[in-house]
């Protein structure tokens, strides 16, 4: 059974009053450290009083790192025990459901961390079903969080109907639990729901949700949440034919992002890519290119540039080069984008197809018909696998292939 979340004031108070005997460490579940401090104090008192000074430094060190210890203790608590708690602290009497939840949740996390959204959806569905049993349907904050995660995964997979159902339930449950839209967990749900609504064309609902979020966030404070909100609002404005508002929101988000001390790298990259794309639309090539390059530099530092976001930057830089007639640069960027997609989203065939299509076009434009034919053949295979042989995209890809001089077609 869970012991509940560890409280920061209690931990600090214990460090102050019982730090020399490790009281705060016992409270945080850091038993080895607690026993060590207790033993050191005993030895110090009996044999070597100078050890008490060492002990004091140790406790001071603990105080400095207390936030980290608290986070770790609460994280472990969440992973290891929260599933046994229903809303209002009621406990489940179904340990089998809890065990099933943990098993699938671990697989979900593994798949999600690797970017395998299909795997995440598969395991997440099973984890969610077990969690519903474990917490007797809720309302429960862990269940609401899992519903949010599943909603986000479904949205990334393009299953917006399912995503919206999960996210509606998540937001409703957080409300039942008394959370406000600005609370971190709920903000994430509201944000994902708004994104899904926007994807589904329900722009009014999306705007309403963003406004709720905006009202709930502390005004003028630069945080990841406020940057994300502006970035998403900008996308919504872009979709609803308000380019000026969109660009303004993006510029504000960029200024704000520079002030956030622990800026989320993925969010920052997305923001830079979005800004760059907007600038590219109005042919501000130099500034657009600079922002794409900043996005790539961020990704290079974070993950050697092996990411879907980096693929987006390369793709757009390729498109820009095409528009400027610089085919050699366009080829470089499209080749890199395709390679990154093949690594980062190997089973998202339609995403890969987009790069195959662009690259085939560039090869063709450069008169490299052999490579163009190879790429066009691959594109036909990709569309056939993803959409079937009679889909209009597949038929169009076959038509494009047929336009390549016969002698270049692969045997």
């Amino acid at each position: 059974m869970s012991e509940g979340r560890k409280s920061a004031p209690v931990a600090y108070l214990l460090a102050l009053l019982t730090g020399l005997v490790g009281g705060h460490n016992f409270y945080l579940g850091r038993y080895v450290a607690g026993v060590g401090q207790f033993a050191l104090t005993l030895i110090g008192l009996k044999f070597a009083p100078w050890l008490l000074l060492v002990e004091l430094l140790w406790v001071l060190g603990d105080v400095v790192f207390m936030k980290k210890f608290l986070h770790h203790a609460n994280e472990l608590d969440a992973d290891g025990a929260e599933a046994t708690e229903a809303g209002g602290g009621e406990t489940t009497d179904d340990p089998a459901a809890v065990a099933t939840y943990h098993k699938h949740q671990a697989s979900y996390k593994g798949a999600y961390d690797m970017g395998d959204m299909n795997g995440a959806a598969r395991h997440g569905t099973l984890a969610l079903a077990a969690l519903r049993v474990a917490v007797k349907g809720g309302p429960n904050d862990l269940l609401a969080g899992n519903l949010n995660n599943m909603g986000a995964v479904c949205r990334l997979l393009g299953d917006n109907t399912r995503a919206r159902a999960y996210l509606d339930e998540s937001v409703r449950m957080f409300r039942q639990l008394g959370l406000k839209p600005g609370a971190e967990d709920m903000a994430s749900s509201v944000n994902n729901l708004a994104l899904t609504c926007a994807d589904m064309g329900d722009h009014a609902a999306a705007e309403r949700l963003y406004k709720q979020l905006q009202a709930a966030l502390p005004a003028g404070q630069a945080t990841n949440q406020s940057v994300r909100l502006l970035n998403n609002l900008a996308n919504l404005y872009g979709k609803t034919g308000k380019p000026m508002e969109s660009e303004l929101a993006l510029e504000r988000a960029l200024v704000m992002a520079a002030k956030v001390p622990d800026m989320d790298v993925t969010l920052h990259t997305d923001l830079l890519n979005n800004c760059a794309s907007t600038l590219m639309d109005r042919q501000a090539w130099d500034r657009s290119r600079t922002l794409y390059q900043q996005a790539l530099a961020l990704q290079e530092r974070a993950c050697k540039g092996i990411s879907r976001a980096a693929a987006t930057s390369h793709n757009d830089l390729g498109v820009m080069a095409e528009k400027l007639g610089d085919w050699a640069t366009a080829q470089q960027h499209h080749e890199r984008a395709l390679h990154l997609k093949q690594i980062c989203v190997p089973d998202e065939l339609l995403v890969i197809a987009k790069s195959e299509h662009s690259l085939g076009g560039v090869y063709f434009a450069r008169g490299n018909f052999a490579q163009a034919a190879k790429m066009a053949t691959k594109l036909v295979a990709t569309y056939t696998q993803a959409l079937g042989s009679t889909h209009p995209e597949t038929i169009q890809a076959r038509t494009n292939l047929a336009a390549i001089p016969h002698e270049y077609l692969p045997q």
Partner: protein, 149 residues
């Protein structure tokens, strides 16, 4: 001790992690498949140079920068694995090996070429096993890492 070549298949989504940080791959290769380790493995032992020459599609990948597995280490994305498998299906193994034996002069500089030109049965078996390995990897949507170490 002479160098040996090995192909290892890993889950398609695992590849990204490996490309970002390829250190500690030997340890990772010992991880059981059900704990997230490699899904398959196929050694080509000292025939690695011959395999590369005869079946270039199996090594048509990118260099795995920073890997501590030996001098040669490269990876094929799941798309490349599917392509390699499609090309391997068109191969006639017996004809390929016969060509290798008949063209002694052409292949004489390959590592241990003369040994495999005498033991064609073993070489044929290695190639057939490698084809099965690629078929299985392609069916699972896996990536493949090749190294000589």
């Amino acid at each position: 001790m002479s160098a040996g070549g090995c192909f290892v298949s890993v889950g398609g989504y695992r590849l990204r992690k490996i490309v970002i940080d390829p250190t500690g791959l030997y340890e990772y290769f010992d991880t059981p498949a059900d704990s997230g380790g490699p899904t398959g493995r196929q050694t080509v032992e000292q025939a690695w140079d011959v395999v590369q020459a005869l079946l270039p599609e199996t090594v048509n990948g990118a260099t795995l920068e920073g890997a501590d597995l030996g001098e040669t280490c490269l990876y094929l994305t799941p798309s490349r694995v599917v392509e390699a498998h499609a090309q391997l299906l068109k191969r006639d193994v017996s004809a390929l090996v016969k060509h290798f034996v008949d063209e002694q002069e052409r292949y004489k500089d390959l590592y241990w070429a003369n040994v495999w030109q005498e033991d064609t049965e073993w070489l044929e078996q290695v190639i057939r096993e490698l084809m099965q390995f690629f078929a299985a990897a392609a069916a699972r949507g896996d990536a493949v890492i090749f190294y000589v170490g």
